[in-house]
C-alpha cells in the first residue's frame, strides 16, 4: 500500500478500475489533498527586474520629454493649434508666450485674462468645443457666429482700449527678459531675444499684434530686447 502513496488520483482510480492493488476511496482523497498542498507550498516567484528596467527607462524618457520642451502644450477646448505645412524645428531657446482663448500665459502662469464673447454673451467651454469642430463640420451654426477675443481696457496702457500695449504682459516680460539677460551674461552667452507665440487658432490678428507689439517694447538698453518672433503650429500635410 505504501507504493500507492504518491500516486495521482487518476492513477489510483485507474489501478482500482483495473482491479489491481485495492485502493480505497479514502486513499484517493488523501492523494488529492497531498497534491493540492504540494501545489500551494511551492513558492512561485515572478522575475520582474528586467520589466522594471524597461519601465524605468520609459518613465524617465516620458518625464524628461514632457518637462523640457516648452512647445509641449496639451490641446484643450480653449487651446487648439493652428495647422500649417511649415517644417522648421525650433533650434534656439526662446521665451514662450501662450495665448489661449482664456488667458495669456507666461512662464506657466496666467498674466492677463482674455475676454471672449459670442452673441454678446460670455463664451462657454461648450461653445469652444463646437467651434473646434468647424474644420470637419463647417456648416454648423456655431461656425457662422463671430467670436470676439479681446483684452479688457483696464489691462491696456493708460486704460486706452485702442492701445496696443498690454500692461501686465509688458511688466512680466520685462522681468523675464532682465532675468534672462542676467543669466546669459553669467554664462557668457549672447541674449538672442527670441519669442515663440503659442497661439490658439481662433485668436484674432488684432490680439496677436497687441502681444507682438508689447513684446517688441520690452528690452534693456544696450543689451537688446525681444526682436525675433515665431509662431508654434501643428504640422500637417505636404
Amino acid at each position: 500500500m505504501a507504493e500507492n502513496k504518491d500516486l495521482s488520483p487518476e492513477q489510483a482510480a485507474g489501478q482500482q478500475a483495473a482491479g489491481g492493488v485495492g485502493v480505497t476511496e479514502a486513499q484517493t482523497e488523501d492523494a488529492q489533498d497531498r497534491r493540492k498542498s504540494r501545489l500551494y507550498d511551492e513558492k512561485v516567484t515572478l522575475t520582474i527586474t528586467s520589466l522594471m528596467d524597461i519601465m524605468t527607462i520609459l518613465l524617465f524618457f516620458l518625464i524628461i520629454s514632457s518637462t523640457t520642451d516648452p512647445l509641449n502644450v496639451v490641446q484643450t477646448a480653449a487651446m487648439q493649434f493652428a495647422t500649417s505645412t511649415a517644417d522648421v524645428s525650433p533650434k534656439d531657446d526662446s521665451i514662450p508666450i501662450l495665448i489661449s482663448r482664456r488667458h495669456i500665459v507666461l512662464d506657466s502662469k496666467p498674466v492677463v485674462a482674455v475676454s471672449c464673447t459670442v452673441d454678446k454673451a460670455e463664451c462657454t467651454d461648450q461653445d469652444f468645443e463646437r467651434l473646434n469642430q468647424c474644420e470637419t463640420k463647417p456648416l454648423d451654426e456655431m461656425c457662422k457666429k463671430e467670436f470676439r477675443f479681446e483684452i479688457d481696457k483696464q489691462d491696456k496702457e493708460k486704460s486706452d482700449p485702442n492701445s496696443l500695449v498690454i500692461e501686465p504682459l509688458r511688466k512680466e516680460l520685462d522681468r523675464l527678459v532682465k532675468q534672462q539677460i542676467a543669466e546669459d551674461e553669467a554664462l557668457g552667452r549672447k541674449f538672442k531675444g527670441v519669442v515663440t507665440l503659442i497661439a490658439d487658432r481662433e485668436i484674432p490678428f488684432r490680439l496677436l499684434m497687441e502681444v507682438i507689439y508689447t513684446a517688441g517694447k520690452v528690452g534693456v538698453k544696450g543689451k537688446g530686447g525681444l526682436s525675433q518672433f515665431r509662431f508654434a503650429i501643428m504640422k500637417t500635410g505636404n
Partner: protein, 210 residues
C-alpha cells in the same frame, strides 16, 4: 530578549530580492498618465518678422524695390503690388464655395454640402504666377496684414499659400490643394552636400498692421 544579530561572525546575511511589486504598481499608474499627457503631434514653428506699423507704402510713392503684400479681409484676399517702375496693382481673390469632404474620401468623390471659405488655391495660383514672373524672381519677402478679426488659423493658411511651392501651378478645389505635395528641389547645404528640400516662393514673412 533581543534576537541575535544576523551580521557579525564574518558572513553577511542573504537579504533576498527586494520586493519590486509596489514600485511596479506606481509605475503602471505613472506611465499611462504620462503617455496620456504626451504630445503626439508634431509642433513646428513659422518665423515672422516684426510688424511694420503703418502698413506698406501708399501707391503714390515710387520705391525702387518691388513690394508684394497680401491683405486678408473678412471675405477676400487682396494682393497688392507696389514699387518698382510699375503702377500699383491690386488682385482680389474672393471667398468661394467648396464641398465638405472628409479626410478619407478621394477628392473626385466629394459630394458633401457646400460651404464658403477663403480661396486658398486661388491665392496660391496668383502668387505662384507672380513669383514666376521676371519682376519677383529675386524677391523673397512678402508683407501680410489682416483685418482685426481675422483668426490666426486663416493667417497660418495664408502664409502657407504664399510660402511653399507645390507640385502644380494651380488646383481646382480646396481638397486637392490641401492634399497637394510640396515641390522638392535639390540644393547644396553649407557643407557643400547635395540635399533635397521643399521649394519656396516667399520664405520671409513680414507682418504688417493696416
Amino acid at each position: 530578549m533581543a534576537s541575535p544579530s544576523k551580521r557579525g561572525h564574518g558572513g553577511e546575511a542573504d537579504l533576498g530580492d527586494p520586493d519590486l511589486v509596489p514600485i511596479m504598481s506606481i509605475m503602471c499608474i505613472l506611465i499611462p498618465m504620462l503617455i496620456y499627457s504626451f504630445v503626439l503631434y508634431e509642433v513646428k514653428v513659422q518665423e515672422i518678422s516684426l510688424p511694420k506699423f503703418g502698413g506698406p507704402s501708399n501707391s503714390s510713392s515710387k520705391s525702387k524695390v518691388l513690394n508684394l503684400a497680401i491683405l486678408v479681409a473678412k471675405d477676400q484676399h487682396i494682393i497688392k503690388i507696389q514699387g518698382g517702375d510699375k503702377e500699383a496693382k491690386e488682385i482680389t481673390v474672393k471667398k468661394k464655395k467648396f464641398k465638405v469632404c472628409s479626410a478619407e474620401t478621394p477628392c473626385e468623390e466629394c459630394a458633401g454640402e457646400e460651404y464658403e471659405d477663403y480661396d486658398f488655391p486661388g491665392l496660391y495660383a496668383e502668387v505662384a504666377k507672380l513669383k514666376d514672373s521676371k519682376a519677383f524672381a529675386e524677391v523673397d519677402s512678402i508683407n501680410i496684414g489682416a483685418d482685426d478679426t481675422v483668426p490666426w488659423r486663416v493667417m497660418a493658411r495664408t502664409i502657407d499659400s504664399v510660402r511653399a511651392r507645390l507640385d502644380k501651378p494651380n488646383y481646382p478645389d480646396l481638397c486637392t490643394y490641401s492634399r497637394a505635395k510640396a515641390l522638392k528641389v535639390k540644393t547644396t547645404d553649407a557643407d557643400g552636400k547635395e540635399v533635397t528640400t521643399a521649394a519656396e516662393m516667399f520664405p520671409k514673412i513680414v507682418f504688417v498692421m493696416l
